[in-house]
């Protein structure tokens, strides 16, 4: 039995379905992420798990028990809010003690529990500080300690790192992974940041317009996006769409306007004439100035239309003779790399049939 079952849950605001018939399950000890653009319903879903919002249809079960009719204060889940929501008139210790007092944990047990929670988030020594005396990262750690101190069944995190700067965010991501492993409590994590989702999660549910587009492990989500939306939302991706010409021996040929026949390997049978899309990550494309190179499966010419130098890598946008643009990414440390290409340079691009990923539609 799963720890949390979201069973055909729908939430409407007027005519608008914020969450539209979502079914998913979260396993014990899992780091589960709801990922999607703003307005996709991920926060509404989280608020329904916490009890701040109620589904119009479907059920939410925790350990097999229907949570309907239980107010937030009576649910064994805890939320870490985006803007910390620390009580400004209480010290760090007071904030962490609050849920223990509410749960009527005997006063004699509290100091040890508080110390353990603060140790989990590496905030020993900050007990007497007030929230306004803490940095953003420290505030977020207090919020996490406060949520964990009563050993909830599940921790819900609503974009907890969104307000922090990039460097601190990365540091806290690593801490979150370690913390989750240590405490073993299931995390349901809401974010719109795909790199964060890929880095942290055991599984990701990519949401769009109230629905789950794909639910999978991070590497599957990245490598084998099931829909155009997922391919486009997760990282950079070239999407080549057109009618399917043929399928021979597991290789589909798609006739792409402005580029030509693009070949991609796929196991599923595809009907000739149906619409198809090939998702191709920019880093899978070989780009060179000289003669044709080793991957003869797909081979196209073009000129560099613009480029983005990003330090470790350079992103080239190459225009084909047919007028389409293909994005290719090249690591600047790549061995044997003789030169950078400039805008206007003629280049050759090639990739193997198994570099791309076929999506029907």
């Amino acid at each position: 039995m799963a720890l949390l079952d979201i069973d055909h849950v729908t939430r409407r605001f007027g005519d608008f379905a914020a969450v539209d018939d979502v079914t998913l399950a979260v396993e014990p000890g899992e780091f589960f992420t709801l990922l999607g653009p703003s307005g996709c319903g991920k926060t509404t879903l989280l608020r329904m798990i916490a009890g701040f919002d109620l589904p119009d249809g479907g059920r939410i079960l925790l350990n097999g028990e229907d949570l309907a009719g239980r107010p937030p204060e009576a649910r064994p889940v805890r939320t870490v809010f985006q803007n910390y929501a620390l009580f400004p008139h209480m010290t760090v210790e007071g904030n962490v003690a609050f849920p223990l007092q509410m749960a009527r944990i005997p006063a004699s047990e509290r100091p040890a529990r508080i110390a353990a929670a603060l140790e989990d988030v590496r905030l020993i020594g900050f007990e007497k500080r007030y929230p306004h005396e803490l940095s953003g990262g420290q505030k977020q750690r207090v919020a996490i300690a406060r949520a964990l101190v009563t050993h909830p069944t599940m921790l819900l995190l609503d974009e907890p790192l969104a307000a922090l700067d990039a460097k601190l965010r990365e540091e806290l991501q690593i801490e979150l992974i370690n913390l989750q492993k240590e405490v073993g409590i299931a995390f349901v994590y809401v974010t719109h940041d795909q790199t964060e989702a890929l880095a942290l999660s055991h599984r990701i549910a990519v949401m769009n317009a109230g629905r789950v587009e794909q639910l999978d492990e991070p590497s599957k989500i990245y490598g084998f996006p099931r829909t155009k939306f997922v391919a486009d939302f997760i990282g950079q991706c070239n999407l080549f769409s057109g009618p399917v010409k043929s399928q021979d021996d597991g290789v589909v040929t798609v006739d792409v306007t402005g580029i030509g026949a693009v070949r991609v390997a796929t196991q599923a049978p595809v009907a000739a004439g149906s619409a198809g899309t090939i998702a191709l990550r920019p880093e899978k494309i070989r780009i060179a100035a000289g003669a044709p190179i080793d991957s003869p499966d797909n081979h196209f010419r073009g000129t560099v239309a613009d480029l983005l130098y990003m330090g470790d890598v350079t992103v080239y946008r190459v225009e084909t003779p047919g007028g389409s643009r293909i994005e290719a990414l090249l690591a600047n440390s790549q061995s044997g790399r003789a030169k950078f290409f400039e805008v206007g340079d003629a280049v050759e691009m090639s990739w193997a049939v198994d570099a791309g990923h076929f999506i029907a539609g």
Binding site: F52, T79, F98, Y130, A147
Partner: protein, 298 residues
Amino acid sequence: MAKRSERVAKWIVSGPPLLYLLVFFAIPALIMVVASFRSPGEFGGLAPLVDEAGKLDVNLDSYARFVTETVYLRVFVKSAWYAAMTTLICLALAYPLATLIAKSPRKYRDLLLLLVILPFWSNFLIRVYAWMIILGPNAALARAVNGALALIGVEPVPLLFSAFAVLVCLVYVHLPFMVLPLYANLEKHDQALLDAAQDLGANGWQRFWRITFPLSLPGVYAGAALVFIPALGIFAIPDILGGPNDTLIGNLIKQQFLETRDWPFGSVLSIVLTVAALALAGMAAWVGRRGAGSIARA
């Protein structure tokens, strides 16, 4: 130099109000302090500063009188009691009202606040006299109360010219001064804190006493100071609506200056009142600032 012209500008801007306060507040206050150490004149006012024997007539007689004749101290304590009751009742009435306004849709808030301060648009004395009619022996209220009392066999009670009338009017007049600072505070509260408290297991009662109320204390202190201090010195309301036992410190001061014409003693009473009020205001400001500090910087 920029610094110097800034200094000049500062004096030009703050000069007139400073001058005004000096002439109409500081100097009269000083005159009152000096008067409190002098002797009363034979026919009111003050006795000559230098008597016929050429001696400087400065003494502590009026202060001694305040301390030794306990009746004055008792009036003072009674005034403080009335002011404290007024403050507590105002707080009890204003807190739900301010909460309601702060939680109502933004477009109605200005209208509701306007209704709270609407009484200020009519004259203070007229509003006090209106209570004479409302509480009068032939008014519906007195008839209803005494009719109900008659049913259980209790003698009729007069509502007017009583401590009840004074307290009702004191609360009525001062209520807006409690509502406004409370509203200003409650309106800024962050709903996320209440959500967090609820998520952490707090029920409605616990959320109020552990989160909302402590965070509203700066507003409570400000409102309490704005109600208690003027209520302490008021004289018109007990004059008009009170009975013979409802003489408060404000009435006493008025009496000393206008009827008994004992200026030194009136000055002593005024000084005691001012010092008490200042001490309370200072305390409220100090406590309020301590509380507000941790909230403002959160």
